[in-house]
């Protein structure tokens, strides 16, 4: 029997019966070798309750061929623990930790088997936020700095514990879960798909378009319907607008943290122009209500196309002035260059994704490797890469991506006339029963992966969400090692990861 069911990101949903059920030891041995090759990384890995136990599903991505590999296994109820994949490939750590937290599955030799997010349906209710087992290093010369859960700014909560030797950070551990709202269980509370769409919008409000696109594509695969080129084109514009807005916000935030007010205010104003463009399109500055399954409530009009074109041309010109000045600003470069280094190997080891991975030279970009929507049409995307893996690289990647995204918007809107084929959203389309559907979308932070399993009636019975932050939080912890603790803020901003997207 084959080890994997092989598909890709544009194929329709997969019948659960077609997914192989393999022997865990054989899978472990396969992955132990396979994952040494950087072309592979784990997209999702979760367990779900079935009769008499658990069935585990794993989705692997092959960046070289664009293939998506799906497999599953059902361990013997009476078996001993499973050999930990994290012990050989660290990128599995958040997934094994989640399975351990939810179902109590022990993973032998897992180096860091700690709770992931203290979800309400965790197995061990005696394990709480307050009892998180922080790593401790003994030593008279060391001290701990505890930050959070409430931070100094208007920002989401999370607990950060630094172990420092003087001003130098030896170790940072990030304990999350404060933001847990029960996204995955609320997703399947009832079959109201408008409600599911709105929950997708709230997974991470700064990635509303990204996560809702992931939800919509997943549903469309289950419905077995093609949404047409025009809607795909408009969704590309929407998600690139979101990327531009957030990269602008981060450029400004990085400038704020080193007291560089000129860039800060310039970027604040440019972000306002960008999100107000989205607001003029759909009524919401974050693009909530813009993405809907199987259709749209806001097909672009002549006037809106013109607004987007004009505003983006303006943003491009003004932002490029900021970008060029940043590249010459010695005081800024002195802070950002060679600070918070994460090497390409390290990024690959932890399974890093998105523009922070690209800043370390790791070519992870679903728009190029596993395109869907308009990216999979006559569109070619070349990811922007940097090799230094420092704060400056993460900023420079963002700056170049803003210009690239604006160019993409101009490219796909050139000669575009308001569509006559975009339909109203459909919240009642019948979905393929007993199927697994996944979606992979490159949000502004990186790889978003949603997975759903349907029951006999075609209702969504299991919903799993992965925000790119799940991979990348460990990257931040690694970046600040051996840096001065005062450089933590710029490192944090250079990653700008989601708390709610992680905690769900």
């Amino acid at each position: 029997m084959e080890m994997f069911y092989v598909t890709n990101n544009t194929a329709s949903a997969v019948a659960i019966a077609d997914i192989p059920v393999v022997d865990y030891v054989a899978l472990y041995n396969d992955l132990k070798e396979r994952m040494n090759d950087p072309r592979y990384h784990v997209g999702h890995y979760f367990a779900t309750e079935v009769e008499n136990g658990l069935r585990f599903y794993m989705i692997l991505l092959d960046d070289q061929t664009g293939e998506v590999l799906i497999t599953s296994f059902v361990p013997d109820y009476y078996a001993e623990g499973l050999a930990s994949l994290t012990a050989v490939h660290q990128q599995f750590h958040p997934f094994e930790r989640e399975i351990f937290e939810l179902y109590g599955v022990p993973f032998d030799n897992h180096p860091w088997l700690k709770p992931l997010r203290f979800s309400h349906d965790r197995r061990d209710k005696t394990s709480t936020m307050d009892s998180y087992p922080f790593y401790v290093i003994e030593g008279e010369e060391l001290h701990e700095v505890n930050v959070g859960p409430i931070h100094a700014g208007i920002i989401e909560p999370g607990a950060f514990r630094f172990i420092c030797d003087g001003e130098q950070v030896l170790h940072l551990e990030i304990a999350l879960g404060y933001q847990h709202r029960g996204v995955e269980s609320e997703m399947i509370r009832n079959g109201n798909r408008l409600r599911q769409t709105l929950i997708a919008e709230s997974i991470a409000g700064d990635t509303a378009v990204g996560h809702t696109t992931a939800y919509a594509e997943l549903v469309e695969k289950l419905a077995g319907k093609d949404i047409g080129d025009d809607l795909k084109r408009e969704r590309l514009v929407a998600i690139e607008l979101e990327r531009i807005a957030m990269h602008l916000a981060d450029t400004g935030a990085l400038a704020t943290d080193i007291g560089f007010q000129l860039y800060q205010v310039a970027c604040e104003a440019l972000r306002t122009v960008t999100i107000n463009t989205t607001q003029a399109w759909c009524g919401n500055r974050f693009g909530k209500s813009l993405i809907r399954p199987l259709g749209s409530n806001f097909p672009l009009t002549e006037a809106k196309i013109e607004t987007i074109r004009t505003n983006m041309a303006d943003v491009r010109r003004r932002y490029n002035e900021v970008r060029e000045d940043i590249l010459e600003a010695q005081t800024l470069l002195a802070r950002f260059e060679q600070c918070g280094l994460v090497s390409k190997d390290e990024m690959q080891r932890i399974g890093g994704v998105g523009q922070v991975a690209r800043a370390s030279g790791l070519k992870r970009d679903l728009r190029a490797t596993h395109p869907s929507g308009f990216y999979a049409e006559e569109f070619s995307h070349e990811p922007i890469l940097r090799t230094d893996g420092d704060v400056m690289s993460r900023l420079a990647t963002r700056m170049d991506e803003v210009l690239q995204s604006i160019d993409y918007i101009h490219q796909v809107l050139a000669n575009y006339k308001p569509s006559t084929t975009i339909e109203a959203p459909d919240y009642d389309a019948s979905l393929m029963p007993e199927a697994l559907s996944f979606s992979l979308v490159e949000g502004w932070r990186g790889e978003i992966c949603h997975v759903a399993l349907t029951d006999k009636e075609g209702a969504i019975a299991k919903y799993k969400v992965k925000d790119p932050s799940v991979h990348n939080w460990l990257g931040l912890a690694i970046a600040v090692r051996s840096e001065g603790i005062s450089d933590f803020p710029i490192n944090n901003k250079s990653f700008n990861l989601s708390y709610c997207g992680h905690d769900l």
Binding site: I154, E156, Y178, G182, G283, S289, F298
Partner: protein
């Protein structure tokens, strides 16, 4: 190098909104809803049924802005019954004032419900501590935006402070995740009296999509008096600015 900076400044120009009271948002913005009763109830019943947060009642016809996420889907189901205007001034001092009745033409801000000491103590300056308890980061970003170069709410003496010890009040966002409930309580109690409590965003006001989730714990709101309710998903910066300004007058 210095020329580059002049170029940025020149392109940047003047960005602040001179009069924050005098802004009309884009037509697409969904703010205060107008409700109209019709004999045929079939449309509005469909709208009420699909509403993800059960914000609509059909008899009598009402829409609770504290539950509403302003997705606009009900207007598409029942265009004769519901029409969202671009009115962003949605602040209320009493929770019940957020329930919009049929025929109501503007939001209801009950000045009598404002504690008189608020104007006395916070009329000149007001520093707030924000706590996100399950917020999705969009409300938080909009609160940050109130102080940015466009809105510049700081010019009226309103800002956000890092320590609750320095704060005159707390702004709550998010449906209040159970994992955050204790930290929220500690933070609120660390603020010296007199203080205000502002609840920002529909998810904070009612729990929104997570109202029935076992992962949230809303007992905080049963314990303390709320001075200002600000609906929205997220709350628009101008809605926050308008509400706080009215509260301090």
């Amino acid at each position: 190098m210095i020329f580059g900076k002049f170029k940025i400044l020149h392109s940047h120009g003047w960005q602040y909104i001179p009069n924050l009271d005098n802004v009309t948002l884009t037509e697409e913005f969904r703010g205060f809803p107008l409700l109209t009763v019709t004999d045929d109830k079939s449309d509005i019943e469909r709208a009420a049924a699909i509403c993800p947060t059960k914000a609509i009642t059909t008899s009598p016809l009402t829409l609770d802005m504290g539950k509403c996420l302003f997705c606009g889907e009900c207007q598409r189901c029942a265009p004769k019954n519901i029409r969202f205007t671009n009115e962003h001034r949605l602040a209320a001092t009493r929770r019940e004032d957020l329930v919009v009745m049929a025929g109501q033409t503007k939001p209801c801000f009950t000045k009598d419900a404002v504690r008189p000491e608020i104007a006395k103590y916070f009329g000149q300056t007001l520093q707030l501590r924000e706590v996100s308890a399950g917020g999705d980061a969009s409300v938080e970003m909009e609160l940050n935006a109130t102080g940015n170069v466009n809105f510049d709410f700081g010019r009226y003496g309103v800002g956000f402070t890092a320590s609750p010890r320095h704060a005159d009040g707390l702004v709550l966002t998010g449906p209040i995740s159970a994992n955050m409930a204790e930290a929220l309580d500690i933070c609120y109690n660390s603020i010296a009296e007199p203080k205000i409590l502002v609840v920002c965003g529909s998810e904070a006001i009612s729990g929104g999509l997570y109202a029935d989730s076992p992962a949230i714990d809303r007992t905080f709101l049963d314990k303390y008096h709320v001075d200002l309710w600000l609906p929205g998903a997220p709350t628009h910066p101008l809605c926050f600015i308008d509400g706080i300004t009215k509260l301090r007058k």
